[in-house]
């Protein structure tokens, strides 16, 4: 996993992704007034993404309380969003699910698309490890070769954290995302101690 310094999210801001109804939503609208944790998943049946969601889901309320939005983007069809939300019990969580079958957001975020990252030795180890933890893989729903990533974007568009995954099993530690968001919240305080 790479940590990339990126001063701006302008390339991402104008990209539109689909919500569960198929309506287009500009990604930039999610960080226009509040910080945003943007997590780009692989496809909706991905076992690595299931692990990532299991790590992140219990922390979504903390991110929300610290004043940030969380947006998850998958590469599958918008019609699959509801089933994904139900499968991962995200319905009552402060999170927005979007789809980007065009992969435009992934390209703008500089994420990896690679057969080796999906089928290579490291991916195989990640896959077996996830299976051993009780996660399951489902039918591919989206781009099989596209890898994920995560960004924390502040209101206005500067990126304060960007992680680029190089294997299907990689995901940012949810504590790193919470820490980034808490840091942003702390900086907003006039009485900062």
């Amino acid at each position: 996993m790479r940590t990339v310094q990126d001063p701006t999210s302008s390339a991402l801001a104008g990209i539109e992704a689909l919500d569960r109804t198929g309506a287009r939503r500009a990604l930039g609208s999610f960080w226009a007034d509040r910080p945003c944790v943007l997590v780009l998943l692989r496809h909706y049946g991905c076992i690595g993404c299931a692990v990532a969601i299991a790590d992140l889901a219990p922390r979504l309320a903390e991110i929300d309380a610290a004043g940030a939005r969380t947006v998850l983007v998958g590469s599958g069809a918008a019609a699959s969003i509801d089933a994904f939300v139900e499968r991962h019990a995200l319905g009552d969580k402060p999170v927005t699910l979007l789809s980007d079958p065009s992969l435009a957001a992934y390209r703008a975020a500089g994420l990896v698309r690679s057969a080796w990252a999906t089928f290579g030795a490291r991916a195989a180890v990640d896959y077996v490890r996830a299976l051993g933890s009780g996660f399951t893989s489902r039918a591919t729903d989206g781009d099989l070769l596209q890898q994920g990533g995560a960004l924390v974007v502040v209101a206005g568009g500067a990126v304060v954290l960007r992680r680029v995954y190089e294997s299907l099993g990689e995901h940012v530690d949810a504590s790193d995302l919470v820490e980034a968001v808490l840091g942003l919240a702390a900086r907003r305080s006039a009485l900062r101690v």
Binding site: A66, G183, A185, A186, S189, L191, R192, V193
Partner: protein, 211 residues
């Protein structure tokens, strides 16, 4: 003496059936001991078998001891318990003890300056008793027992933008920032629970300063 061998193997069998790792190790220890006695009592003692089983025994006894240490009941003093109830209920008592062991109980008198504006803060504190005030010019908020001091600097790495004074005699726990950061990096589960505690405190302070 063959019965020693059979009893030892029955114990091994049982150890493979139990799910609890401590019981598995303890059964293995007893089985290994019996096996060593059996090997010694042979007309020609089986030293190789005794040596290997002695090695397994040492490893299993050591690991069992660690497990027992981890599982023994946690006893908190009245002072520690009060702070736990006030602030750290999201942590298990054992996690809390680990955290406390890293910090230091300290006292300060009324009007003592706990934090100086603009000066890098190398510690994080939590008030166990008494009141303190965060001040910048005319603006001020009061901190009561159970509130953190220095958490924003801890999270951002930046110098504080306000002073903090004790309004009366205060007692607090203080952690060296570097020690705490290193400790939390080594304990991911505790780091998550710690963030939840710190985050809740931070958010309530932000709400207080916004009103």
């Amino acid at each position: 003496m063959a019965y020693l061998l059979h009893v030892a193997n029955v114990l091994y069998l049982l150890s493979y059936l139990v799910k609890d790792i401590l019981w598995l190790r303890l059964l293995t220890v007893v089985a290994g001991l019996l096996l060593m006695v059996w090997a010694y009592l042979q007309p020609e003692p089986l030293w190789a078998s005794i040596a290997w089983n002695a090695l397994f025994l040492v490893i299993n006894v050591y690991q069992s001891w660690l497990l027992i240490l981890e599982r023994r009941p946690v006893r908190l003093s009245e002072r520690d318990m009060k702070l736990y109830q006030l602030v750290f209920r999201a942590l298990t008592p054992r996690e809390y003890l680990k955290l406390l062991a890293l910090g230091r109980w300290q006292d300060a008198t009324a009007e003592a300056r706990l934090v100086e504006r603009g000066q890098a803060l190398d510690r994080l504190m939590v008030l166990a008793s008494g009141r303190a005030a965060v001040r910048v010019g005319e603006r001020s908020i009061e901190l009561h027992e159970g509130r953190f001091i220095g958490e924003m600097s801890f999270i951002t790495g930046e110098a504080p933008s306000a002073d903090v004074f004790a309004l009366e005699g205060v007692r607090y726990v203080s952690w060296a920032k570097a020690d705490l950061t290193k400790f939390l990096a080594q304990h991911p589960a505790l780091r998550a629970a710690w963030q939840a505690v710190l985050g809740a405190d931070l958010v309530s302070k932000l709400r207080a300063t916004a009103t």
